[in-house]
């Protein structure tokens, strides 16, 4: 199966994501040029501005700080992206990344708040991560179970649950996890309670390179090959992919498709919860009632860009992380707002979704009667077995 990497298949499946990125950059460039008059020091339709902007964007993540920032941004993107991707493989749309991320943070915070002071970092941190991920798993389990038993569509249930967990988080910050005596509602700072993830790359870290590179990035780095192995080398992975590609044939092959739905949604939630826990313990360290995240949407982009393949997801997470990391520099040096990166991300997503539709239509037009296009349409996010 490693042979597949060497033939045209991989190149073919790279074409779409690369095209999406190129297209987005072009569209973004046109946008920048169109509105260049609004950037101080530039005239209207200044074609030099996009070039300058992209240069500083790249420069932004090419430095030592830029690289560690990239890795730090990429960590939750990769973890949550893997969660969403494995859902796609099973034909499931996990839109609950936001809620699962937040409840994962709550779980981690709870552990640190209650046992951190006495238990020391070696117990607190792994336990906090585990509990956070487990709560995320539970957040995924609910819509999974609902779908398996009643057919309730997971898109609806996961989105609804996002709000539930958003308010559970707010309530926990205002209630059980609140820091006594603070002027505004806020939780403890995990670094005060042996809960902060150690720094690997940074001025006080193991390696003096860049800044803020916490241990969580190793977790993300490990998760990618583990997920790949799970999906492509184990019987469970085979069953998940089969259930997504053709649930009827999977049933005939003896696979328990309802159990797989529950398992996959739980795993997806677990990964998003882990993303939340690592971000809390690695970067933000404390929560306010207004704590929120765009990870739900970002993870979908990453999963689609990576074609639901764990390796692709890892690379896509790095790409989006790099763009985030460079956006500050772009704003400072070129004057182009950092939000452009969000716009680029959205254009990539749009392009990918449209491209997918185009492929489905092309194959349907070719063979009007055959079932193959119908099955391919059922897994738009993977575009094939790879």
């Amino acid at each position: 199966m490693a042979r597949r990497f060497l033939d045209g298949k991989v190149l073919q499946s790279l074409a779409e994501p690369v095209a999406a990125i190129v297209f987005a950059l072009l569209a973004g460039g046109i946008g920048i040029a169109l509105f260049s008059a609004y950037v101080p020091g530039h005239s209207a339709f200044d074609v030099g501005l996009p070039i300058q902007a992209y240069q500083s964007l790249i420069g932004g993540f090419a430095s030592a700080n830029g690289i560690t920032s990239t890795l730090v941004y990429a960590t939750p993107l990769a973890l949550a992206g893997l969660g969403v991707a494995i859902g796609f493989r099973a034909g499931l749309f996990n839109i609950g990344g936001r809620g699962q991320f937040l409840i994962g943070a709550v779980g981690a915070m709870a552990v640190v708040t209650w046992i951190g002071r006495d238990a020391g970092p070696w117990i607190t941190i792994p336990l906090a991560l585990l509990v956070g991920a487990a709560l995320g798993g539970f957040a995924g389990f609910i819509p999974g179970l609902l779908k398996a038993t009643s057919g309730a569509h997971e898109v609806v249930t996961t989105i609804m649950l996002n709000y539930v967990f958003l308010f559970v988080m707010a309530w926990s910050v205002l209630g059980p996890l609140t820091l006594p005596g603070a002027p505004q509602p806020i939780t403890v700072d995990v670094s005060m309670r042996n809960g902060a993830l150690p720094i690997l790359l940074g001025p006080n870290g193991l390696i003096d390179f860049g800044r803020g590179g916490h241990v969580g990035l190793l977790i993300a780095l490990a998760a990618v090959p583990i997920m790949w192995f799970l999906l492509f080398r184990t019987t469970i992975g085979f069953e998940i992919r089969a259930a997504g590609a053709n649930p009827d044939a999977a049933r005939y092959g003896g696979m328990k498709t309802r159990r797989l739905i529950v398992l996959t949604m739980t795993l997806a939630g677990f990964m998003c919860g882990l993303a939340g826990a690592t971000t809390l313990l690695g970067v933000v360290h404390e929560m306010t009632p207004g704590y929120d995240t765009t990870i739900g949407f970002d993870a979908i982009t990453v999963a689609l860009l990576g074609r639901s393949n764990p390796i692709g997801v890892g690379l896509a997470a790095l790409l989006l992380g790099a763009m985030r990391a460079g956006s500050q520099a772009m704003q400072i040096q070129a004057g182009v707002p950092a939000e452009l990166v969000d716009a680029l991300q959205a254009i990539i997503l749009l392009f990918l979704v449209v491209n997918v539709l185009r492929r489905i239509m092309a194959s349907r037009r070719r063979r009007p009667g055959s079932a193959a296009p119908a099955q391919a349409a059922a897994m738009p996010a993977t575009g094939g077995a790879a």
Partner: protein
């Protein structure tokens, strides 16, 4: 018959040098076809030969890379199906495109409605016009009947009526007899003859040799995208046509040999099964099959056969009754347990239940065994074992594929079925259940599968063969039963069964009353 007279006018349709390429394959390679007015012209070829592509080009669903189309001698460019219809070309597909809840008349006028003013549809006028049209051609159709209440044969007539309503000059029928009983087939042939005599041209796509010989005026054989030959039925035989289609000599009837049935292997007692809409599709059926025996179940599709089969193999929970395999009660066993108990299953809907088309061939070959050694050690798949086994099976079962890693969707229908056959047959089986095993397959694949089934029977497997293809059932079954509305209404000996008797059972659930004194019916 005025067929020769029409040869002096320009042909109703000429396709010259039509070439259509898709990535990796030339679907149509400089194909020439001409169809005269008032002619029934058959297009014969295996699956994947290019007949459907050619008709898609004619119907505007595909643009040819090279070649021209001429209608009545005038070159035309067909922009799409609407354009084709406007030019008088209509297609009746194998899978009907009718709206079940609407009436016959409503279905026929859909898309070109008779209007009473700018907004309202004039249903009365439509009903009148359709009734008239139907009478003119001798159809027996009530224009106000709901389509869902009609038999499949009558539904097909509605499709044809749609074409006639649009003043079709060229009518294309794609495998029209696939869903018909023998009697309905005769009726449809008579109808087509009437339409042709009325000046229309008919293109009849089929792979059924004897039908093509019976109804067509001329036959064009296509193989691998090229026209191999054109024949008049009077000048050729089934054997020659088969050879042209496949490229080699084909045995049209596989010698079924003698069966030596052993002990009772499968016993079904009063099995009741519901369909997807919770109706009782099988109200209670009982039968036995012995080891080394083929029981053929004839019947028009939709009489409970699929539900019966799914209940036996574990894909559907029965409402009641018992299934015993060599003494072991297997009622309600899951598909995996049935598989492990020695049951093989070739499903009717092979794309839905039999294969995961997006997955590589090797994955489909282990679809039912991927979880146990040697293909898995615990949770971890043994890729080498899977690939080796797949290559060996591709060799043994002559599956035409560029490799075992390609997505199964790229294989032709016949080879996809061979993948299923390889998976199910390649081990000792107590019971083999086949549902429409050769539907849509070419002559060569049919021959192959029939051989394999008989080999399994000779090795001692009990075989349950369900097929709407009456000839298949008659050809290889040792015993035949007919399913009608979920019941088994007749049991006959496979060797001596009479085709029209079985056809009558299939259509009506009973034989015609035998006049008193007439006992010598064979």
């Amino acid at each position: 018959m005025t067929h020769d007279a029409s040869a002096t006018q320009p042909p109703a349709l000429e396709m010259r040098g039509i070439t259509k390429r898709y990535p990796g394959v030339v679907a149509n390679d400089h194909i020439d076809l001409d169809v005269r007015r008032g002619e029934i012209h058959a297009l014969l070829g295996e699956n994947g030969a290019g007949k459907t592509t050619l008709m898609n080009v004619l119907y505007g669903l595909a643009r040819p890379d090279e070649g021209r189309i001429l209608l009545d001698g005038e070159p035309v460019q067909i922009a799409g199906p609407a354009d084709a219809i406007a030019r008088g070309i209509s297609m009746v597909h194998q899978h009907f495109m009718l709206i079940p809840v609407l009436s016959v008349a409503e279905n026929v006028i859909l898309g070109s409605e008779t209007m009473a003013g700018p907004v309202f549809v004039d249903r009365a006028e439509a009903s009148r016009r359709i009734g008239e049209l139907a009478r003119r051609f001798g159809f027996d159709l009530d224009p106000d009947a709901r389509v869902s209440s009609l038999s499949v044969g009558l539904q097909q007539r509605v499709e044809i009526l749609k074409a006639l309503y649009r003043e079709t000059r060229i009518l294309v029928l794609d495998e029209p007899t696939a869903v018909l009983t023998p009697q309905e087939t005769e009726e449809i042939f008579a109808l087509l003859r009437r339409l042709a005599d009325d000046g229309r041209s008919i293109i009849f796509i089929s792979h059924k040799l004897y039908e093509v010989l019976e109804v067509a005026d001329r036959i064009t054989v296509i193989r691998r995208g090229k026209v191999i030959g054109e024949r008049k039925p009077s000048e050729t035989t089934e054997g020659e046509l088969a050879e042209l289609m496949v490229g080699r000599e084909v045995e049209l009837t596989v010698d079924r040999g003698t069966s030596h049935p052993g002990q009772r292997m499968l016993r079904v007692e009063d099995l009741r099964v519901a369909d997807d809409r919770r109706h009782e599709a099988v109200p209670g059926v009982s039968f036995d099959i012995r080891a080394g025996e083929i029981l053929g179940v004839a019947g028009v599709a939709g009489n409970g056969q699929d539900e019966l089969v799914e209940a036996i193999v574990g894909l559907r929970k029965p409402l009641g009754g018992r299934v015993t395999l060599e003494g072991l009660d297997v009622t309600g066993f899951s598909p995996r347990r049935m598989n492990e108990a020695g049951v093989g299953y070739v499903p009717a809907d092979r794309h839905r239940f039999g294969l995961i088309l997006a997955f590589p061939v090797y994955d489909n070959l282990v679809l039912t065994s991927y979880y146990r050694p040697p293909f898995a050690r615990g949770f971890i798949r043994e890729d080498d074992a899977i690939l080796d086994s797949a290559r060996a099976q591709v060799e043994r079962f002559d599956i035409r594929t560029p490799g075992v890693e390609v997505p199964t969707a790229t294989l032709s229908g016949g080879n996809q079925q061979k993948v299923i056959v390889a998976r199910e047959f390649d081990r000792p089986l107590k019971l083999l259940v086949l549902d429409q095993p050769t539907r849509g397959l070419d002559v060569g694949s049919i021959e192959f599968i029939h051989r394999q089934v008989i080999a399994k029977r000779d090795a001692g497997t009990a075989v349950l063969l369900v097929s709407a293809e009456l000839d298949e059932v008659l050809e290889i079954s040792d015993r035949i039963v007919v399913m009608y509305r979920g019941r088994m209404v007749a049991e006959l000996d496979g060797r001596t069964a009479d085709k029209s008797d079985v056809g009558l059972y299939m259509a009506t659930g009973q034989r015609e009353a035998v006049p008193a004194g007439d006992e010598a019916r064979s």
